[in-house]
Amino acid sequence: MSGNVFDHLKSTYFQECSELLDQVYTHLTALDDGDSDPDTVHGIFRGIHSIKGGGGAFGFDRMVAFAHVFETLLDLLRDGKVVLNKDLLGLLLRATDALSDLIAAERTGVPAAAGFETAVRAELDEAASLPSAPTPSAPVRSVAAQPASGQPGLYRIQLQPHETLFKNASEPLLLMRELRRLGPITVVADLARLPGLDALDPESAYIGWTIELTTDASAARIEEIFEFVNDQCDLTITPAGVSAVPELEPEPEEAAPTPVASAVAVATTKPDSPDARRAEQPAAAQTVRVDVEKVDRLVNLVGELVINQAMLVQLGATLPSDMCPGLITGLETLSQHLRELQEGVMAIRTQPVKSVFSRMPRLVRELSSQLGKEAKLFISGEGTEIDKTVIEQLADPLTHLLRNAIDHGIEQPSDRVAQGKPAQGRIHLAAEHRSGRIVIEVSDDGRGIDRARVLARARTRGLVEPDAQPSEEEIDNLIFLPGFSTAETVSNISGRGVGMDVVRRNIQALGGRVTVQARQGAGSRFLLSLPLTLAILDGMIVAVGRESYIVPLTNIVESLRPRRQDINAVVGSGDVVAIRGEYVPLLYLAKHFGVPDAVTDASHGIVVVVENEGTGQVGLVVDELLGQQQVVVKSLEANYGEVEGIGGATILGNGRVALILDIAGLRSASAPGRASRGETRRNSNGHAVAALQ
């Protein structure tokens, strides 16, 4: 086997591990919420078992040894020999954490510290009341199970194919795979009828199989599998009574879990569960693992098609309509299909936010114990789907927000009790779709934001003018300014003043916005609003001289043609335009970007009022509006570099490149406008101001 193939298998295995761990965590959370369904414990067992099996195939001995001890305890738990209580649950969580670290160590090739897992392992051993850790290779026999309700039944299936079975292109292996979908199977081949090599007819059938299947499916369901081969084999199906899974040692077939096998494992986690959370999982879904690059290539191609189609439509519009009537309708159908194709392709890239949410409970657990606080994380809406690239960028901001909630929000248990709150703090992490965007909420029932302290701190840091009187909302938003932190002590968790402004920057980089609502003493609520995808953007095309620019629609507040008398110069700051009594600073795009032959008098052009989180409004002066369009976002950085005020590029219907404005970047390079509503002012843009004037 070439190293390449092996590496590929390995990376598939690690991918599966992370999925399996996610499932285990989900099940553990369910247990914590009082789920007493035996299938939940089964699910955990299966997950750990699969991880162990695969790990053995790759020789990850240390991890396998640990998983084995873990599995032993789970097995006892599954059989009811060990009673689940809060302590045990905590142990299971810690063991899963440790296992996940051990897997990470194998993946990165950086071995975990020696003895890192010893303590947890000893606890596991103790809980399983074993004198010492058994060697990993020692087979673990399951103890005969009590016939509890919902316990799977054992069936013995004897299959002796006739010659005709093969002649009809049936395949016993497929039947066995089908059986395995119902539950774990043990297959023993019966070679008694196999003749010597000289007498062997390669096209005949000699081998029979005895299959032991543990399943809660009915005998009828098993018979169904053999429906088409019934008359081509000798088949007996005998219920062999109730039993636990007969054999726990990984069988060769199970030892190297294939993608199909793991998909099946998902499907078998009780599809008929009434639990809504699990119902959101793609029950029994057929899945294919696809390289992200392949999907990206598809997305790019579809983007090209959209541009092509826009070109064709533009050309078609120049033709006299009676010249080729079929062409116009053809183009219309094309654009409809294209839109569907585009949506379909974009949907491939979406993933449930679960993949990032599932990492958070561990974070909360570890942080709160580190800080001596009690906090429980409640998660909802983790099935909400969003573009994969967005998900990847979500982990950091969410981690920051949760850290912030535990460090600054949730009080010490004694303080909480004194205030009449339950000792255990509650943190909610929720996701939902709201009008074409995804909204993620992080809320806690902690102390909220102490506005007096925030304002005092902002004043001492020079973030707020000494005499300014910001509104409550404005005070709350001060925490997003760079260099702001109110933590009394600088801990290694948060409090270095790099938290919230990073959150805001990350979210803005994703085209999203973050807001906070807080009630003093009753907790705070952070709302992240994100676009569903980064690859496509709704934009307004504006003309400046001979150039076209795209203004993201989410930034646009309004557009207007100002009257001459509405435009006023503010000495030292540039022009402002009066809109309903408010003065909005003007930014002449032509001047800013050095575009020749453009409108220089705002009253002859159009003012597009744009707004970005935390930077206030600004009026962009452009020549005219050319129309609204969905554009495919292309990277300018890949071949050129970052440009201040430009977020990317796109290709218009005429095949030309148009640059997409980055309002936040434009705004930070044009600070003078803050005068009108400048309660909050950053210190860092002095040089940008100078450059502009």
Binding site: A638, G641, V643, A649, G655, L659
Partner: protein, 167 residues
């Protein structure tokens, strides 16, 4: 132009005769005004005609702007301006050489593409020390071709300097 396409190693008499053809490197030569220049053919992705560019705000003088090359955004560098000559006024006759360096794709705007030349690596002469003159770094070497000098452009330096120019 094609009258004396040199056989490998033919640019100068081979000092030793061997059974195997000595390795040669190929360059695409092009014109900038009166001067003849060459770029390593392995870096050249394609050669295309001039198409209208989109200006990039606050770009250096030698960046004409960006074009759409089948869906990717490619900056066009006016090589004449890059070499300190006056900017090229692009016409329909102008040619853009699309080159790949590392992960980057860039277009070089030149007056005309002339030929493909094969030369032995040891035929490449170093740039003589010209005293004060930082621009010599833009070139990777000189080669004589039919009594005419061809300046070989150092793409590595060109691209790193381009990045510095845009920062």
């Amino acid at each position: 132009m094609h009258d004396s396409h040199p056989s490998p190693g033919g640019a100068r008499p081979a000092s030793h005769v061997s059974a195997v053809t000595p390795p040669t490197v190929q360059f695409i030569t092009f014109m900038l005004g009166e001067g003849q220049y060459g770029v390593d053919i392995m870096a050249v992705r394609e050669i295309k005609g001039w198409s209208e560019t989109t200006a990039i705000p606050n770009a250096p003088r030698f960046i004409n702007g960006v074009i759409n090359l089948r869906g990717i955004i490619v900056p066009i560098m006016d090589l004449r301006a890059r070499f300190g000559m006056e900017s090229t006024a692009p016409t329909r006759m102008s040619v853009v050489i699309i080159i790949n360096t590392g992960a980057r794709t860039t277009g070089l705007l030149v007056d005309a593409v002339s030929d493909i030349i094969s030369i032995a690596p040891d035929a490449i002469r170093p740039i003589p020390d010209m005293g004060a003159g930082a621009r010599e770094n833009l070139l990777g070497g000189l080669v004589a071709l039919n009594e005419r000098m061809v300046s070989l452009v150092s793409l590595e330096f060109l691209m790193s300097a381009e990045m510095a120019g845009t920062a």
